[in-house]
Assembly symmetry: C2
Homo-oligomer: 185 residues x 2
């Protein structure tokens, strides 16, 4: 059955044309052979992967970050997140990013699951990580990062997510997953 | 207050270097001025935007699609989705994509909300659209698209989403949002 599925759906790489090697992304145009034997082009963005953190205080509040996103031209309210350094474990990355962006450290960490942000053209894999037992310290964002930390009750954040008030996929997903898994949150 | 927020967080575009103009994506490296007056580079992927559809049958089943995603190297099970043509309304796009990929037509449509898939570097905006009153016809995928349609109960799909069995952000988000808004689903 699995072989039939692969034979019916899978594309085989024929060749890769490198287009751009940036600091964050790489872009390539791949030629693939389709299941019917024809060839097609696929535009691909390679990304190192990232984590998104649901930091939940003992008072049931979520720590979020407000920042300007140049690609979108908007200031967005998001869950804290950040790119993984090469070879970096998701939990190591999550600890680092949460403290950098918000100043919070957490005593309890749990990786919930991972997902691709836009699998049609990009390999960015995002790990959703729950952080509890929070203690506030000093934020120290990366050079060139300007971020406000904001704390709001989980129930309010959930209502805002369902009303479409966050325009960021990982934030809506993280908040709804945490609410649905509430016995564990 | 709003002006203070903008002044504290917003980046101003200085110049744009065009890198790649593909069939689907465009890539550019922008120079921006940061709130503190320094300049920085931003790698940006421009995308036409897309829709993701939650097609719910009268029997409470979700229509999904299984397809190979070359960028990820995996066969993924996802909600039906597709890119918007230039100037195309989200609902028009949703009707077209649902029928192309699955053969289903829907009598009732509702746009729930929209979100960016990866706002750190990409402007892809995705509209989540609910489709009900489904009637099955013939699928007619685009040239080069190989897709299996799969129908599963919403509750099973929800459990799979929370267990991390879908590796696609829009699918997890769409299923959890629909479950949470269940009085309207």
């Amino acid at each position: 059955m699995e072989e039939t599925l692969e034979a019916r759906l899978k594309e085989e790489l024929v060749s890769t044309e490198e287009i751009f090697q940036g600091k964050i992304i790489k872009v390539q145009v791949d030629t693939v052979q389709l299941p019917d034997g024809k060839v097609a082009k696929r535009e691909v963005v390679r990304h190192p992967g990232a984590v998104v953190i649901l930091p939940l205080t003992d008072q049931g509040e979520v720590v979020m970050v407000r920042q300007y996103r140049h690609a979108t031209g908007e200031i967005l309210l998001e869950l804290p997140a950040g790119k993984r350094d090469a070879g970096e474990e998701p939990l190591t990355c999550a600890r680092r990013e949460l403290e950098e962006e918000t100043g919070f450290r957490a005593a309890k960490w749990r990786v919930l699951f991972s997902f691709y942000t836009s699998p049609g053209f990009c390999d960015e894999l995002l790990y959703l990580v729950l952080a509890k037992g929070l203690q506030k310290g000093e934020a120290h964002p990366d050079d060139g990062e300007f971020i406000d930390a904001v704390t709001m009750p989980l129930d309010q954040v959930r209502q805002m997510a369902l009303a479409g008030e966050f325009k960021d996929a990982k934030t809506v997903l993280g908040v709804l997953a945490c609410s649905a898994l509430d016995e564990k949150c």
